[in-house]
Amino acid sequence: MSTRFDRIVEDNAWCPGCGNFSILAHLKEALDEMGLDPLQSVVVSGIGQAAKTPQYMSVHMFNGLHGRALPLAQGVKVANPSLTVIAEGGDGDMYGEGGNHFISAIRRNADIINIVHNNMVYGLTKGQASPTSQRGFKTPVQTEGVHVEPFNPIATAISLDASLVIRTFSGNKEHCKAMLKIAIEHKGYVLIDIFQPCITFNKTNTFKWFRDNVYELPESYDPTDKVNAFGKALESHPFSIGVLYKSPSKATLEDILRKESRMDARPLFSHQVDFHALSDEMDKYI
């Protein structure tokens, strides 16, 4: 299916059959079907295989440094609130190298969509443990198996009262696309953690493993019940997918900063220096 977000790519760095291909396709379709304009959409990414996603789309891109997509994306959004801003990367990028930024981005609540490709392994550096690798997972570095507790991004995000917390699975196209649309529609910070197999370096958490270990939340599930959502976030094997948590409505970073400094919603590049006020202010220092 062709979309307005397609880019002709001659050389794709992903392994054939990688889960990244489906996430890329779902994302482009979701953006297209929601009528978004590529010229008003920015994807900020870090480093890793997942972080290459915007290279293969027709969209504004800032492909920055490992772990740093979130602070950069918040800057982009604050400078121009009319843009749709996505911060995208893998589990190592967002939860490992960028862990501190992940926590702070949730707390700030800029209106950005944080897409995390979660394959429970490091791909680009060739198969070491990631923050979400399960205990006992053997790698060339963790030769006796991972001996640390896996990072739980969903529980972390709920504990910080993230505006919207979603988990989905790249192998479930309908679900993944629907969840991406909900994420894009939402005003405020959204975590959308997408389970995704790494066919080269993760022989444990395979496509079949994910398929067997996820289940969709029932329609009766109430994502606004925080305590219940937190309990759900702690469950594993199987893992629930869907909108796990939705916080009470809250102001976004870009709105708060403008309100605090009495600025209107225009992009920062249209703001002018008030030299009269500057002279007056400096006169107070005589």
Binding site: A13, P38, L39, Q40, V42, V44, I47, K52, Q55, S58, V59, H60, M61, F62, N63, G64, L65, R68, L70, P71, L72, A73, Q74, G75, V76, K77, V78, A79, N80, S82, L83, N100, H101, I103, S104, R108, L253, L257, R258, E260, S261, R262, M263, P267, L268, F269, H271, Q272, V273, D274, F275, H276, A277, L278, S279, E281, M282, Y285, I286
Partner: protein, 559 residues
């Protein structure tokens, strides 16, 4: 009659040294004196031993001195802390028996006097009035100032304290340290600015509309200054979770069309290294205010050093252009901070404003100046559909578009990239893009500020950044006609136009507030011979009197 007088107030944090500083500097300025103040303090919230030095003169004074004419220790510790600065001529205001010194004691128990009118806290106000009176100034001026600063009971208590202090001064009889004020009263109309305020105002003039920082002494002053001004000038202010994020947010803002600054000191700037490098390859402008303090690591957190010149020039992996500016006083802080935004935008490079604790925290008389009311030049272009962010150009500058303005996509990549901005491993494209970025250095060098030599002597005394006026006064004190002074405020990249005057066979003495002579090393890289170096790295700035002695003996060696 002396030409200038130095007053040292000592005490622990929380004793109100800052209030005396405000009161006396405002007071002396209104009385028609040129005034300068600087402070040194320990890394404590409360307690410790801190001093503020105030100099007053008929002529402009813009540098600290070591020797103290009048010393008011508000506690015993501060007396011992500053003991080396007291000489036989020093007038010590203290209670007899509290200290033993070979100086002139003016015996008064200020805390007891303060207590007698209700609160020991106002002993600093009594001290202020006493010092003010000893210098022949009218206490009415101080009353006017406290009336502006305080209200109700606090005002009343301070007014009483001023009367007590003024009476003590009167009873002293002799006007031992009276100096003539400047009758032309031009001093009273000057701005009285710190380096911090200079950078803050300059940033506003440069169009700064976003700041994100992680607090770190001695840079935090600019962060709080811009936060205070954010409503007046429309500046988004966000405290970052760390310096890494602070820099990245700033880059995001510039990418999206805003004008951002981040503020930090050496330790924080070390964390920003990867961001500086990212700014370099993505050609995203960025402005950093780096206020130096002595390292390595935590070093002396509240003190001063010019130890991070090399860090500012070499931080960040890879090879790419950047600009480092080192202002020498608040006026230069204003001009260079404003220019930093323009340079960053124009050349799409990181620009570092390199200051230090001494300059940040010192207050200087600054002549009023007219601010050029021209809006920042618009370097952002409206993109068309086939826009390429990194298009090749003769001068290395590719027109910069921003998302949402025009018909093109703005692709920016930390990987080596094509003209379009997409990842590539093509060696030929690498050479093209790397060459394009590095070519900008030629253009940037043409912008370099060429320092004006003061004097025509065959010995050049050379400094950079915050030492500007200290060196000037030290050279004046030495009075050696063979000497000319050169001050660099643009320290990277150095251009031949700046260096040529140093290649005329003159003897060069470099003065730096660091241990290894980092600027002298830079000059040597450019083939400049250095004859002598005067270095200081104990955590304090140079003092004009101390430096003049060091200079005199260095000059003796040169025949």
């Amino acid at each position: 009659m002396k030409d200038s007088v130095s007053v040292l107030i000592g005490g622990s944090a929380g004793q109100g040294i800052a209030s005396i500083e405000t009161l006396l500097t405002k007071g002396f300025k209104r009385a028609g004196f040129y005034t300068f103040s600087t402070k040194e303090f320990m890394s404590r919230i409360r307690g410790g031993s801190n001093t503020t030095l105030i100099r007053i003169s008929k002529r402009p004074v813009n540098a600290p001195v070591f020797g103290v004419d009048i010393f008011v220790p508000l506690d015993t510790d501060s007396y011992y802390h500053a003991k080396a600065r007291i000489g036989q001529e020093t007038f010590l205001i203290a209670k007899k028996g509290d200290f033993e010194c070979d100086c002139t004691l003016y015996d008064h128990d200020l805390p007891a006097l303060a207590k007698s009118i209700g609160s020991p806290i106002v002993s600093n106000t009594i001290a202020a009035a006493l010092v003010f009176g000893l210098l022949g100034c009218d206490v009415g001026i101080l009353k006017e100032i406290v009336t502006e600063l305080y209200q109700d009971e606090i005002l009343e208590m301070n007014l009483k304290a001023l009367d007590i202090g003024a009476a003590l001064a009167e009873n002293n009889g002799q006007c031992r340290y009276c100096i003539e004020p400047n009758l032309s009263d031009s001093a009273a109309n000057d701005l009285f600015l710190s380096g911090t305020e200079g950078v803050g105002f300059g940033s506003i003039a440069g169009g700064c509309n976003f700041i994100s920082s992680y607090p770190m002494s001695p840079s935090t002053g600019v962060l709080t200054f811009l936060a205070k001004q954010s409503k007046n000038f429309g500046i988004c202010v966000e405290q970052a979770e760390d310096e890494i994020a602070a820099f990245q947010m700033g880059l995001g803002v510039w990418y999206s069309g805003g004008r951002a600054i981040t503020t930090t000191s050496g330790g924080g700037f070390a964390l920003m290294g990867e961001g500086v490098s990212l700014s370099g390859i993505t050609e995203t402008p960025m402005v950093v205010y780096l206020a130096q303090r002595p390292g390595p690591a935590t070093g002396l957190p509240t003190r001063s050093e010019q130890g991070d010149l090399e860090l500012s020039i070499y931080s960040g992996h890879g090879e790419f252009p950047r600009i480092v500016l080192a202002p020498g006083d608040p006026r230069e802080c204003f001009d260079l901070a404003r220019r930093a935004f323009e340079l960053a935008d124009m050349y799409q490079v990181p620009v570092i404003i390199l200051s230090d604790q001494y300059l940040a925290d010192s207050y200087f008389h600054t002549e009023q100046f007219t601010i050029n009311p021209e809006q920042p030049a618009q370097h952002i272009i409206k993109t068309d559909a086939d826009y390429k962010r990194y298009s090749l150009s003769d001068n290395g500058i590719s027109p910069r578009g921003v998302p949402g303005y025009g018909e093109g996509l703005v692709l920016v990549d930390s990987d080596e990239h094509t003209q379009e901005g997409l990842i590539t491993e093509s060696m030929s494209v690498r050479n093209e893009q790397n060459g394009k970025r590095l070519k900008k250095i030629e253009l940037i060098s043409e912008e370099a500020i060429v320092p004006e030599a003061e004097g025509e002597g065959e010995i050049i005394v050379l400094g950079w950044g915050s030492t500007k006026h200290i060196i000037q006064e030290a050279v004046e004190r030495v009075g050696d006609e063979r000497v000319s002074v050169i001050h660099f405020s643009w320290v990277h990249p150095l251009s031949e136009s700046q260096l040529a005057p140093l290649r005329e066979g003159k003897q060069i003495v470099v003065v730096e507030n660091n241990a290894t002579g980092q600027f002298a090393k830079l000059l040597r890289i450019h083939g400049i011979a250095i004859h002598a170096q005067i270095l200081k790295s104990d955590g304090l700035p140079f003092f004009a009197d101390e430096l003049s002695e060091q200079l005199a003996s260095a000059l003796k060696e040169i025949r």
